[in-house]
């Protein structure tokens, strides 16, 4: 019998991205029994990812600097929604070492290398 593939620490995952990669991450999380919280801009209210995520939180207007790159807004959502981990996808904050460090400092799991190796 194959061994079950289950997440132990990550019960709720914040997806900090949009478009096809947000959809891709939500699919993987769902198969592993984790809930997803998607942060999005007002331009993406009707996105496929918004329809698929367990919860959605609008964090700002369309420009990425005020939404998908807004570290304080994303971290506040992570705390309010009591997520265990943050997946940054690609682009946006995926290789921002400062973001990774702040996620870890908030006691959350950053789905990527530790803040030190991505610097």
């Amino acid at each position: 019998m194959t061994q079950p593939i289950a997440l132990q620490r990550i019960r709720r995952l914040l997806v900090a991205n949009r478009g096809e990669i947000a959809v891709r991450i939500i699919r993987a999380a769902r198969e592993m029994g984790a809930q997803t919280v998607l942060v999005h801009s007002s331009a993406d209210r009707n996105s496929l990812a918004c329809q698929m995520a367990d919860r959605t939180v609008e964090i700002g207007p369309p420009p990425a600097a005020k939404s998908y790159l807004d570290i304080p807004a994303i971290l506040a959502t992570a705390r309010n929604q009591e997520v265990d981990a943050v997946h940054p996808g690609y682009g946006f904050l995926a290789e921002n070492a400062d973001f990774a460090r702040q996620v870890e400092a908030a006691g959350l799991i950053f789905v990527g290398p530790t803040a030190d190796t991505s610097r």
Binding site: I5, L7, Q8, R9, I10, L13, R18, G19, E20, I21, A22, V23, R24, I25, R27, A28, A29, E31, M32, A34, S41, A43, D44, N46, S47, L48, A49, P62, P63, A64, A85, H87, P88, G89, Y90, G91, A94, E95, A97, I109, F110, V111, G112, P113, T114, T117, S118, R119
Partner: protein, 354 residues
């Protein structure tokens, strides 16, 4: 590893060749002039904090270096908040290969390579796995180099080690510490779900696989369908999707956020869908991709399906005779595009074949 100059130094420390260039960030233009003499021309000025093809300038000869360095410094400061620069040899005929790795902080394995040489303005357009340019011995050397580098930093997570490959030699460029757009081609040829593995590693679980468990089977190709108009110099075409028919059948995968009526906002990148196919070998995969593209219908916004159809009908693309400058040169002769003539002064010297 995000700091490019630091990553180069770490690669050299574990015996992984890098593109000839300055060992780290340069103090000033005087140091750059001296270093450029050693590296030779043509060369590239790159921003230490740059990435995704941004912050790069090609310099053809010594007389042009001074002005280019000053301009690059201003640009880097404005774009990345960091004006540090380094120099690298420019290899116009090289291929872009990258190795997918997975590490759990203790062990690192590789999931073979992707070939990503077909690029426009340093943005990848079509990718495949495995690389048709490598024999088994070269593949082994490349993948081992990537593993050595990741092991030296006790890498944890999914990552990609990028190389330029030219005349039987590969040179490390940079390491990306994220899941990449083109990860589906690796998933198709290995049967892995890389995002699942990423989540398991982040969850604190050890790697589930030994290196010998990762098998390369068949060939996969990915076409990025972008909301850009080839007839108008690839201008982004945000708008509403009207009709949508996605291809299916054996060995066909679509990664997309499209549905009929959905809106493509103008604020973000222009990718609409990644169409990926797998088949027993490259020749069959090419033909399956042609079939899948024929089935794909997206109306409402102009997009780049016709570019992919034309590329898949090209003799050089089908024979995998290409390099990183191939596509921009090819586009200048493609009637389906009104792309400006290639801005790169070196383009006229680069042949169509690798």
């Amino acid at each position: 590893m995000g700091d490019k100059a630091r990553a180069r130094a770490m690669a050299q420390a574990v015996g992984v060749a890098t593109v000839p260039g300055s060992a780290g960030a340069l103090a000033d233009v005087v140091q750059a002039m001296g270093m450029a003499k050693e590296i030779g021309y043509p060369l590239m000025i790159k921003a230490v904090a740059g990435g995704g093809g941004r912050g790069i300038r090609v310099v053809e000869h010594a007389e042009a270096l001074h002005a280019a360095f000053a301009a690059a410094q201003r640009e880097a400061l404005a774009a990345f908040g960091d004006g540090h620069l380094y120099l690298e040899r420019f290899m116009p005929q090289a291929r872009h290969l990258e190795v997918q790795i997975l590490g759990d902080g203790q062990r690192v394995i590789h999931c073979y390579e992707r070939e990503c040489s077909l690029q426009r303005r340093r943005q990848k357009i079509m990718e495949e796995a495995p690389s048709p340019a490598l024999d088994d011995a070269q593949r082994h050397r490349l993948c081992q180099a990537a593993v050595r580098l990741a092991q030296s930093v006790a890498y944890r997570g999914a990552g990609t080690v990028e190389f330029l490959f030219d005349q039987d030699e590969f040179h490390f460029i940079e390491m990306n510490t994220r899941i990449q757009v083109e990860h589906p081609v690796t998933e198709m040829v290995t049967g892995l779900d890389l995002v699942r593995e990423m989540l398991l590693i982040a969850d604190g679980q050890p790697l589930r696989w030994q290196q010998q468990d990762i098998r390369l089977r068949g060939a996969a190709i990915e076409c990025r369908i972008n909301a850009e108009d080839p007839q108008r110099n690839f201008l982004p075409t945000p708008g509403s999707i009207e009709q949508l028919q996605l291809p299916g059948g054996p060995g066909v995968r679509v990664d997309s956020m499209l549905y009929p009526g959905c809106v493509i906002p103008p604020y973000y990148d222009s990718m609409l869908a990644k169409l990926t196919v797998w088949d027993e070998d490259r020749k069959r995969a090419l033909s399956r991709m042609r079939r899948a593209l024929d089935e794909l219908h997206i109306s409402g916004v102009a997009h780049t399906k016709s570019l992919h159809q034309a590329l898949l009908a090209d003799t050089d693309v089908c024979a995998a005779r290409y390099h990183t400058r191939f596509l921009e040169h090819w586009l200048a002769h493609w009637p389906g595009s009104t792309a400006d003539t290639v801005a790169d002064p070196l383009a006229r010297d680069t042949g169509r074949t690798a």
